[in-house]
């Protein structure tokens, strides 16, 4: 121990040997899943806050979209929505395969799911560029502000979860693969969350 004097203040002198611990029963729900579920409650409330903001502000304005602002690309985004939902579906299938220890096949489906997710992201980005070209910016009107805020918040989540899942996908391919189906579950849950809020946001922002 490098610093015995400070040690005596905060720790008892002896370190503990960890060899005589009784075995704990395996918890019925893994810690990762519990932690992720709680986090998802917060995330759901975050989006609920954004949705409330949208509804309140929307209710105060008669003309929607306001004068001079472009209409949102409802149709292409509908297609894009399907792509994202499909990605959620393949994610579910990949979990099934991983649970059956079929790591190669599971990894392939996970890859497809991630590709679909990336497609969604790129298509959204393309849409943003076009809207910006039409003169719709964050500050051009509260309409634009809400659009970029809500769709941007969702996109931000997509980017984050994709990045972590791609990392996991990489490690799944390694010869001494440390990732199990159970270990991946919390991340997949987050992806389902991102997939599931999107239709709600789509209906809210694009259709009302």
């Amino acid at each position: 121990m490098t610093n015995p004097s400070s040690q005596s203040v905060l720790f008892a002198a002896s370190e503990v040997s960890l060899t005589n611990r009784p075995k704990r029963a395996k918890p019925p729900v893994s810690s990762g899943v519990i932690g992720m579920l709680i986090f998802m409650v917060t995330e759901a409330m975050f989006f609920a806050g954004l949705i409330s903001a949208y509804m309140v502000i929307r209710s105060g304005i008669e003309e929607w979209p306001p004068w001079g602002q472009p209409r949102l690309p409802v149709e292409t985004t509908a297609f894009n929505t399907l792509v994202l939902l499909l990605s959620g579906l393949t994610m579910g299938f990949s979990r099934n395969l991983l649970q059956k220890q079929k790591f190669q096949e599971g990894r392939r489906l996970l890859g497809i799911s991630l590709l679909l997710g990336t497609f969604f992201l790129v298509a959204q980005g393309y849409e943003w560029v076009q809207l910006l070209n039409f003169g719709m910016t964050v500050s051009s009107s509260v309409y634009g502000g809400l659009f970029y805020l809500i769709i941007g918040a969702h996109g931000f989540h997509v980017v984050g979860v994709l990045a972590v899942l791609i990392h996991a996908w990489n490690r799944l391919g390694a010869s001494n693969n440390p990732i199990t189906a159970e270990g991946l579950l919390p991340l997949q849950l987050l992806w389902y969350f991102v997939v599931c809020v999107w239709p709600v946001l789509y209906v809210l922002v694009y259709l009302t």
């Binding site: 203040v9 008892a12 370190e15 009784p22 932690g35 409330s52 903001a53 309140v56 502000i57 304005i61």
Partner: protein, 569 residues
């Protein structure tokens, strides 16, 4: 068996039980006890800043326009900045880190008998983000224009338009700091709930968990479920400030009332978030020092659930005169009055616990009892405010201010001292000095009442909050009222001076105090079954739990306590 294999078995990372150098032990720790200390010490430093601000603006109120010794002149802008940041610091950087993050971190693993949090790295990250948030807040005092002065509730448009608040960067940094702080507690909260769910010692059933742990966990869940909308609101406010959106600006199609909804949707559950940990800590302390079983363990627990559920449906009582729909206001009057029922039930349970016990008035017990007494006044005045017809007159007066100081001060300061004096022997392995502890107690509790009781009367006399100099208001500039203000300020100074006793006692006892036995208070919960201070890894041998946490004075037993981990004969 190798260490790593054993660690896999207990589900905890092995690496942090090895010998660590100073850097990894105290600066970048994974040990929950050290992270708890970091939170507690940071919180206490922030409390000093918050107290200093209170000193400065109270002096201005008592002696308007004069130089404040140790601060200087307090102008109107300065005054607003001081009040705003006093409130922000005390709630977000003192109450939350000390009571929830600090004592939550310290107590949860020890009380449920495991060697660390389930996610130690997330725990460390949580503190680091918290530290950054505190630094950002402190930075905001020094940027051009000074710190934010738009009240801790930050109502727009005042908070969102730089031409109105005159603190362009100060207000943005304020929002940023608060948002970072929320993220930090989110990470911490995930840890708390999972640990309490999954890492309990063998044999510990749901109803054997000490109330302190239960209440911290419930508080964290409340926090996690209510903070989302405010994070959304903070993002929108930040965008309004920095990139020209108009979410809260009526002229641009936004709605300022929206912020109030998002803020108070979090804001009211937040008051219960800080309340519950202290109530839990107090429950543990009063059972130990009255040597009695907690009266109605399950009732107390279920009322906490009820309080938690109800706390989501009362928030609009902060907006009665903000122009919300009167029909909605009426519903919120009913829910607000309803929420006092579970709280009253809890109070009665605690009082019933005291009844007939053999009470020992040690310092922690004094703090716990004074909490009950003082919080009662806070809760009762809340009911007056909850009646919207009365609130039309009381709103934003000193009556409200006195109400929430009679709740927040007992919760934050009294609760913090109760917990610190009670667990000090466990934390540092030494006893605190009882005499100094009692001097500090009386020197805090009496001046506290002298500060805030008069403020109720100032509020009834019509004194409005957040005004830097009442001499401009003929009705409020009378000598009579001014005398009350001076009395409150003098009491504050006296109280602040008495804190020096605590600081002295704290540091001297930490290094020179009498060595503490493992279980100085003869308490039942698991943290007292290990050495003082607990070793790295907490328990020499993981405990097994045989009974609930409150088996005091069990008939037919020689000793008047029965630790949870002692096997029945």
């Amino acid at each position: 068996m190798s260490q790593a294999a054993a660690a896999v078995e207990t589900g905890i990372h092995a690496e942090h039980h090895e010998d660590l150098n100073f850097l990894h032990k105290y600066i970048l720790p994974l040990d929950h006890k050290i992270i708890a200390m970091q939170y507690i010490f940071t919180g206490m430093i922030m409390a000093i800043i918050g107290g200093y601000f209170a000193y400065a603006f109270r002096m201005q109120l008592a002696f308007p326009g004069e130089l404040v010794p140790g601060y200087g002149l307090v102008g109107p802008g300065e005054y607003n900045m001081l009040v705003t940041n006093h409130g922000t610091i005390m709630i977000f950087w003192v109450a939350m880190p000390v009571l929830i993050a600090g004592f939550g971190n310290y107590l949860i693993p020890l009380m449920i008998g495991c060697d660390d949090m389930v996610f130690p790295r997330i725990n460390r990250l949580s503190y680091q983000i918290f530290l950054v948030s505190a630094l950002v807040l402190i930075l905001s005092f020094f940027v051009k224009g000074g710190g934010f002065g738009g009240a801790w509730t930050a109502y727009p448009p005042l908070s969102s338009v730089a031409e109105y608040n005159l603190t362009d960067w100060g207000s943005s940094l304020w929002v940023l700091a608060v948002a970072l702080e929320f993220i930090s507690f989110l990470l911490g909260g995930i840890n708390f709930v999972t640990t309490a769910m999954n890492a309990r010692a063998p044999g510990m059933k749901m109803m054997d968990i000490p109330i302190a742990v239960w209440f911290i966990v419930i508080a964290v869940i409340l926090f996690m479920a209510s903070v989302g909308p405010l994070i959304a609101g903070a993002v929108m406010l930040f965008m309004d400030q920095r990139i020209g959106t108009t979410f809260f600006l009526p002229s641009g199609g936004g709605d300022p009332l929206l912020w109030e909804h998002l803020f108070w949707f979090f804001g009211h559950p937040e008051v219960y978030v800080v309340l519950l940990p202290t109530l839990g800590i107090v429950a543990d302390i009063i059972t130990v020092f009255s040597r009695k079983k907690l009266f109605g363990y399950k009732t107390v627990l279920y009322t906490a659930f009820a309080t938690g559920g109800l706390s989501f449906v009362v928030w609009a009582h902060h907006q009665f005169i903000a122009g919300i729909d009167p029909r909605m206001a009426n519903i919120f009057v009913v829910t607000t009055v309803l929420i006092s029922i579970p709280l009253a039930e809890m109070m009665f349970s605690y009082i019933a616990t005291l009844y007939g016990g053999s009470i020992e008035l040690k310092t922690p017990m004094l703090w716990a009892l004074s909490f009950l007494a003082a919080f009662l006044i806070g809760g009762v005045t809340g009911i007056y405010l909850g009646a919207s017809a009365l609130d039309v007159y009381f709103h934003d007066s000193y009556f409200v201010l006195a109400h929430f100081h009679y709740t927040f001060f007992p919760i934050t300061i009294i609760g913090m001292f109760a917990a610190l004096t009670f667990w000090f022997p466990k934390m540092f392995g030494r006893m605190m000095n009882e005499t100094l502890g009692k001097i500090h107690f009386w020197g805090t509790f009496i001046p506290f009442n002298c500060i805030f009781l008069p403020l109720f009367f100032l509020g009834l006399a019509g004194q409005h909050r957040r005004i830097y100099n009442y001499q401009h208001f003929p009705d409020l500039a009378t000598q009579e009222l001014q005398n009350i203000r001076i009395f409150a300020t003098v009491s504050l100074v006296v109280m602040l001076l008495f804190q020096l006793v605590f600081v002295y006692n704290f540091f001297v006892s930490m290094f020179k105090g009498e060595k503490a036995p493992d279980n100085p208070w003869r308490a039942n919960t698991l943290e007292w079954s290990t050495s003082s201070p607990p070793p790295h890894g907490n328990f020499k041998k993981l405990p097994t739990v045989y009974r609930g946490a409150y088996e005091y004075s069990t008939p037919g037993r020689e000793e008047d306590f029965w630790p949870q981990n002692v096997a029945p004969e």
